[in-house]
């Protein structure tokens, strides 16, 4: 039986609200201005990035439209993405006007054809099976896990967000809450060696109901806490006890922040009511309270689902982007307003992209390499990083005949670029991303 070290347990048993006093992290002074946060947006189901970033030049669009057929977006509706030097090759999906604006203002970059890889892979190598491929391509949960762990040779029990966070524990010595926070439930991306992200609700209060200040209630609460410290010899029982311990400690600190009616960031989310927007609002509130909470390096996760558009793709993706775009725009504006614009970098992950050739049901199927978005004041925006694939089924970038693009940037490189911005040096990168050495260059300069 393996025993887990749970950082928050002792604090909860002692009824201590201030976990930072526990001294479980190595102490290291850091200035309040040295704050950085990564915000991961996981787009569940496999976002069809072929319709997120679309060719707008005549020849490129004509080819796109001829293959995509019923899935083709009208050329006139695409939102042009002007690149440096006046180059205009691609446009955004029409439901992404806010992101187009962020591109124009230099706060948003596109990273092209990123995907799970064990090592660089040519089409010839893929087709001849001469070089190791990622395990279980095209499967949702496995490809999600490979994106979240940046390990494609086998299944991993930790995510790269979690491993990265572990490397910065010394900078979070004064943090009163766990350094990783999720609004999208438990997730491998934010699972570290022995801990996982604190999961917070996006509405309602966060805490234990039904306790007054009476002596009787105090005794009942004390007993509830004491029960977390006995019978710890059964694995699942002690795990559930640990979750509750962390919940009691962290909710006491975060509930006033999450339910605050005076947060500066809230005004930027006015009128946004989707769950996804509420997730980003909750994250924005936590970041706004950064100096109170004391963390120097935080990793956040938000999720948006239903990108598995095997049918009715045009309507479904339109509806999802209509949630994504205003929420991301609001979040970026909120970060700028609290002076955290350059301290917070937001980026997308997704299972995979989808087949460029449509299926017979008005949708597309599971594919591989996909384009991703990186947003924030530190981002070197207004550019496409990497090489866009040749949009030809059975062409030079296809793993088969339906337009499953073999990635030309590894998840490891994408992750390393973000981790390096977060403060990871070369040796830390090698620890966090054990397969990074297979790829060159290690980082891509988009942030």
């Amino acid at each position: 039986m393996q025993r887990r070290k749970f950082l928050l347990h002792a604090g909860a048993l002692a009824g201590t609200a201030a976990l930072g006093q526990m001294g479980v992290f190595a102490s290291r002074a850091a200035t309040a201005s040295d704050y950085k946060a990564l915000v991961c947006l996981f787009l569940y189901g496999g976002n069809d990035s072929n319709n997120m970033v679309v060719p707008v030049d005549s020849a490129g669009y004509a080819n796109y439209a001829s293959v995509r057929a019923d899935l083709a977006l009208p050329q006139a509706q695409l939102l042009p993405l002007q690149e440096s030097g006046g180059v205009l090759r691609y446009g955004f999906h029409p439901a992404l006007p806010g992101l187009q604006g962020l591109w124009t203002s230099g706060n948003l970059a596109v990273v092209a054809n990123v995907g799970t890889l064990v090592q660089p892979l040519t089409q010839a190598q893929y087709l001849s099976n001469s070089t190791q491929k990622p395990a279980t391509l095209f499967s949702h949960i496995d490809q999600q896990h490979e994106w979240q762990s940046s390990i494609s040779t086998t299944s991993s029990n930790t995510g790269w967000g979690g491993r990265l966070s572990d490397q910065f524990n010394s900078l979070n010595a004064n943090s009163s809450v766990p350094p990783m926070i999720s609004t999208g439930g438990n997730n491998l991306f934010v699972t570290a060696a022995a801990t996982q992200a604190l999961v917070i609700p996006v509405s309602g209060s966060f805490g234990l109901n039904g306790f007054s200040s009476s002596g009787a209630d105090a005794a009942r609460r004390s007993a509830l806490v004491s029960l977390l410290g006995v019978d710890r010899d059964a694995d699942l029982t002690s795990a559930a006890q640990d979750v509750m311990s962390g919940a009691l400690s962290s909710s006491a600190i975060l509930n006033p922040i999450l339910t605050s009616s005076t947060a500066t960031v809230a005004q930027y989310f006015t009128g946004l009511t989707t769950n996804f927007a509420l997730q980003l609002l909750a994250i924005a509130k936590v970041i706004e309270a950064q100096s109170e909470l004391g963390a120097q390096r935080q990793v956040f996760l938000a999720t948006l689902g239903s990108f598995d558009t095997h049918t009715d793709e045009l309507n479904q993706q339109q509806a999802l982007f209509a949630q994504l775009d205003p929420a991301l725009s609001a979040f970026n504006a909120a970060m700028a307003a609290i002076g955290a614009g350059s301290s917070v970098t937001t980026f997308t992950l997704s299972d995979f992209s989808r087949t460029f050739s449509p299926n017979t049901g008005g949708g597309s199927d599971h594919a591989w390499g996909s384009h991703h978005l990186v947003m924030g004041g530190a981002v070197h925006g207004g550019q496409i990083y990497g090489t866009m694939p040749t949009l030809t089924p059975a062409g030079p970038d296809d793993a088969g005949t339906e337009g499953r693009w073999i990635p030309t940037i590894a998840v490891d490189q994408y992750a390393a670029t973000l981790a390096a911005w977060f403060g990871a040096d070369a040796s830390t990168l090698a620890t966090v991303l054990p397969n990074l050495a297979a790829f060159s260059p290690s980082t891509l300069n988009f942030v």
């Binding site: 039986m1 393996q2 887990r4 569940y44 293959v67 095209f138 499967s139 949960i141 299944s155 029990n157 439930g185 438990n186 060696a193 022995a194 801990t195 996982q196 604190l198 999961v199 917070i200 609700p201 966060f206 234990l208 109901n209 039904g210 002596g215 009787a216 005794a219 009942r220 004390s222 007993a223 004491s226 029960l227 977390l228 006995v230 019978d231 010899d233 059964a234 694995d235 699942l236 029982t237 795990a239 559930a240 006890q241 979750v243 509750m244 962390g246 919940a247 962290s250 909710s251 689902g305 239903s306 095997h310 050739s357 449509p358 299926n359 017979t360 049901g361 949708g363 199927d365 599971h366």
Partner: protein
Amino acid sequence: MRGFSIRVYAGTAVLLLAMAGCGGGGSGGGSGGASIPATPPPPTPSPPTVADTSRFLDQATFGVTAGDVGLVQVIGFQAYLAQQLAATPSQYSGFSYTPHTAPATCQYHPATPTDASSLCSRDQYSLFQVQRQFFTHALSDADQLRQRVAFALSQIFVVSGVEIYEAYGMADYQNMLLNDAFANFRSLLQDVTLSPVMGHYLNMADNDKTNAALGTSPNENYGREVLQLFSIGLYQLNPDGSQMLDGTGAPIPTYDQNVIEGFSSVFTGWTFPPLAGAASQWTNPINYDGTMVAFDSHHEPGTKLLLNGLTLPAGQTSAQDLQMALDDIFNHPNVGPFIGKQLIQHLVTSNPSPAYIARVSAVFADNGSGVRGDMGAVVQAILTDPEARGDAPTTANFGRLREPALFITAMLRSLGGQSDGVLPRNAISAMGQPMFTPQTVFNFYPPSFVLPGTETLAPEFGIENAATALARANFVNTVIMQGGAKPDPTVTGSTGTSIDLTALSAITYPDGLIAQLNQTLMHGSLSSAASAVILAAVNAQSATDPLAAARTASYLMLSSAQYQVER
């Protein structure tokens, strides 16, 4: 401080016996009070112990009741299972076809005087009533094991309210699982495959053959997930559930993209059943009543590469290809361990030993009469296995976190509560398990979820976190401390949700109260340390509030990890 008296305590022992059923058994111990008198010997020569019976019922039902403990004590496990296998399936009722797009008259105005249309969008175009009925059936209906297995199957053969929002459709699908819970797996697989609900959810409905002019090919959604999730999984398995390894020590995939395309081609040419009185055509409008119908002119005509080295010949009909493809899946050696292990995880323990899985796989392969896929026999094997039985688990990783639905039903059943299902269906979303509405076909949590930093499997911990753990405790607060929920005037026959703690509050001796709850809720497994903690809190309650002690002890036990992890 709370007082107690020996005189009242004598009554406690009687109540304890009554709630534990006939006999009480000899080893239900673990009580907090050393002075509790010995219970009488059991009435039959060698009935199962109270502790083992209670554990069995936690695994086989939606919550241990005194009546069931008494019954099983008298008739034994095998006779109880025989009764349950023969029990008439409960059914979701009161639903009928509605068009996929709600008419404009269909609204939701619960505050104004209600008629059919003013509650239409809630009752017909959301799962509200289906979710509510899940709880009323689970709390009261006699076919407990069938419902437990059907609920487990609903989390393997997943369809979700994210797409299936018509109440009648979800009711149809869940009724199918209830009817098939103990059927042969081959029948179950076919009923799932031809269900128009699954057809809509994973897009086998209206899946057309290749159109060369348009450059389109068959939708791969069902062809992929039927293999990955509903039958064999990604890697070749030994009968004990472990992965087979190749010469380099790597797991061996069960299929590749060519096989996915083969099955995707098989599952073409089917559309929704025609509406009553309407001509059937390619394609029919969405209709969840009945089974899908074939149009061979829309079926992929070529050969199809499947599993086990099988290639289907070109030119067969939709139905011919379907039968051969489902036989091919059914006979793959993975099905027994792949499905068997998940059923063990749903019913008994998150970490079954390889030997346990192998014993269940063997029954899947042959029920003793030469029949493969007998799900009733598989369920019996799971529940009577030596690893499942006994007065207490023998390994530290045994057991499972009660998932929110079972957490809710178990507390209500064991404490004699009642509910119309409204509060449970409302409260369960915050616990991470909106009934029949997982985000994806991968269910609320994967069977492979492990506790961080360990190799311990813990599927239900996929939705256990700070937010959901507090929601569980707050549900206990609502039901135990706040009196539950009042009847909902917009729901016909609504009774609200409540637990009457009067009987427990009659036990004025705190040790006896805790011993009673230990027996009722925890198979007598509560440690003396935990009992002492609860006792201290009970003793701090007002002696003038007759319910305070019972509420305090119940709240603490139900909200504890010791209860929420069923072992």
